[in-house]
Symmetry: C2
Subunit: 360 residues, 2 copies
């Protein structure tokens, strides 16, 4: 059977769908086939404003997208509280799922979604775009190199941005009934994923949230920190917040090497991204300088990371649809591990900062 592009339908007109719809257009193996909103007028306006192809089907409901037999896959950027219902329904209708993060409000909901996908034989992937940047693979080579990097000892991750008053009053990410995980589910998700990425997805043994969680009047987290602990002594910390200047740090320290990058979720520039490595760093003879010094590496990309995400997702869908392959389990596994740690941090905060064991 000929391998044709994957037809994607979008559920809703979320802000992030602007970027992802462009990515669907840019990716060589996907077609921006349909968009559905609760009103067709809204969907139509969104499609127009974001230069959707004229051929894009406009629907006045999410159901209509799911009921279109031409739609291969759906991109779901709905508020997290709606994920379980719409993702399960989409899977049952045999639609492959590109699902925004956080995948679910908790791992129980995530498991319902993943089970529905497994039953239906459809692919699921979460929308953690930076995973697909070629820089991420180059950095992985470095931290996987036992001679250059050695054994992982510590990770620190920080993702903050300064939300304006409108965001802090009206954004779905501060609403308990929409994205009730707040900053932990939004920016914290990325911090946790970056730490798991650095540890090769080895789950920590335990998690301890750190005092100082900031919540709004509805109890939604606006800022929090946590530490993660592994059996072998590895330690990681992260800080995530809606209340501080945009910062996106990951520092990974091994016995032999150190990795730094400061724009981990969204690189400073679309077409290239850099990282800094240091290997067996030492001092000059009188300890008045470093020898060797860290070095910067630049990785260019022809497609932005979100288009590479769509390309990877659609490639997997093509394999299933046209070549009889099974869905790739790596992606739901990574989503689940991220959610497990996120749940543990949430539980630690809820319990008044006790240590919470992480069990898979």
């Amino acid at each position: 059977m000929a391998t044709l592009p994957i037809k994607i339908g979008i559920l809703g007109c979320a802000d992030i769908a602007r970027k992802v719809s462009r990515a669907i257009t840019l990716s060589p193996n996907s077609i921006l086939y349909a968009i559905g909103s609760r009103s067709s007028q809204k969907a139509s306006k969104f499609a127009l404003e974001n230069d959707f192809p004229d051929s894009t089907k406009i629907y006045g409901s999410y159901d209509a997208v799911l009921d279109d037999p031409e739609v291969d896959a759906v991109y779901i950027p709905l508020p997290t509280s709606l994920h379980v219902d719409w993702a399960v329904l989409a899977a049952r209708k045999k639609k492959h799922l590109l699902l925004e993060k956080p995948v679910a409000l908790n791992v129980k909901e995530l498991d319902l979604i993943v089970e529905a996908c497994e039953s239906a034989g459809v692919q699921i992937m979460d929308g953690t775009m930076w995973m697909h940047n070629p820089r991420t693979f180059k950095m992985k080579e470095f931290v996987s190199d036992s001679s250059l990097f050695g054994e992982l000892k510590s990770v620190h991750s920080c993702f903050t941005f300064s939300a304006n008053n409108n965001f802090l009053e009206n954004d779905i990410r501060v609403k308990v009934d929409l994205d009730g995980l707040g900053a932990l589910g939004d920016v914290g998700w990325y911090c946790i994923r970056s730490i798991l990425w650095a540890t090769d997805y080895e789950l920590p043994k335990s998690v301890l949230a750190l005092r100082g969680t900031v919540v709004n009047s509805a109890g939604v987290i606006l800022a929090c920190s946590a530490s993660l602990h592994w059996e072998d002594g590895k330690v990681a910390t992260f800080h995530c917040s809606f209340l501080a200047n945009l910062t996106m740090d990951v520092t990974v320290v091994g016995t032999n090497g150190t990795l730094h990058f400061h724009d981990f979720v969204i690189p400073f520039e679309e077409k290239q991204a850099s990282f800094t490595t240091a290997v067996k760093s030492g001092f000059t003879e009188l300890v008045t300088g470093w020898e060797p010094k860290p070095s910067e590496h630049i990785v260019v990309t022809d497609l932005p990371q979100e288009a590479l995400m769509v390309k990877e997702f659609c490639g997997l869908v093509q394999s299933i649809k046209f070549h009889g392959k099974k869905p790739e389990k790596k992606w739901p596994t990574l989503s689940r591990k991220t959610q497990l740690v996120l749940d543990a941090v949430n539980a630690s905060i809820a319990s008044g900062y006790t240590t919470v064991e992480v069990s898979s």
Copy 2:
């Protein structure tokens, strides 16, 4: 009375004294006047190997340095366990004190030292060299600027280096009876100071060490982490270790701005040092890049930071000796705050990771 250079005597032939003796030579207001070791042969060899001026007095004991009436001030790089005895004795003999960090094994000992200095009317300053780098002042301007940086929200500091087997077996910093504070007293001191520096020396309300402390067979700390918490919600974390590649990070995040530097204790180069600031960072229209991007700043220095430290110290001593000024209380105050937090981290580890209140 004419302002003459300050005559400095060094107690002991510690490795760090190589760098500081050079700094005394470089500083315009100091004279490398004497060195004493437990054997004059050892002192003589050290002086020769490190290009001391021919005029430098060589003594076969620390007492002989303290008994030389020409010596204005002493630099004490002895193991921490010896600080209280020799520093108090030196103060009683009216010698001004440049004392290596950690200042003492605990704040009680530090207070004995500071009291002795106050009684004798001599200046005390600890050997935290990076405080004297002109970069430090430029960065302070940034984090003090309410419009550029805003309100401080979080700090992360990391200082690790990879000690070799010889260090891990023989260095004074792994010996319970010499520098018994281990990595916490050595690299951890700097992390704590950097955090206090960022908070304008506001003591945290409480400190919590994080699980994962590594100790050697004698119980000396080789690696540890901690979180610091302020009443107003500021949070800081640090990680210090003898067991990971050389890394020296400080990240300071405010409501409007972010500061990064990656060589905070010893700049990559002796004559210049850089830092990165980001102000009101945001994204491009489709959130595919940053606007504005962070910017790098380079600060050059004619003298290395350790020479500037000596210059600052000797300037204060000159003010006292020749102009009847009182000792500058800022420096012992900073030492004491650093030690208080260090003690609290140590107590948190000793107590099995309970939260320890910090009281001045």
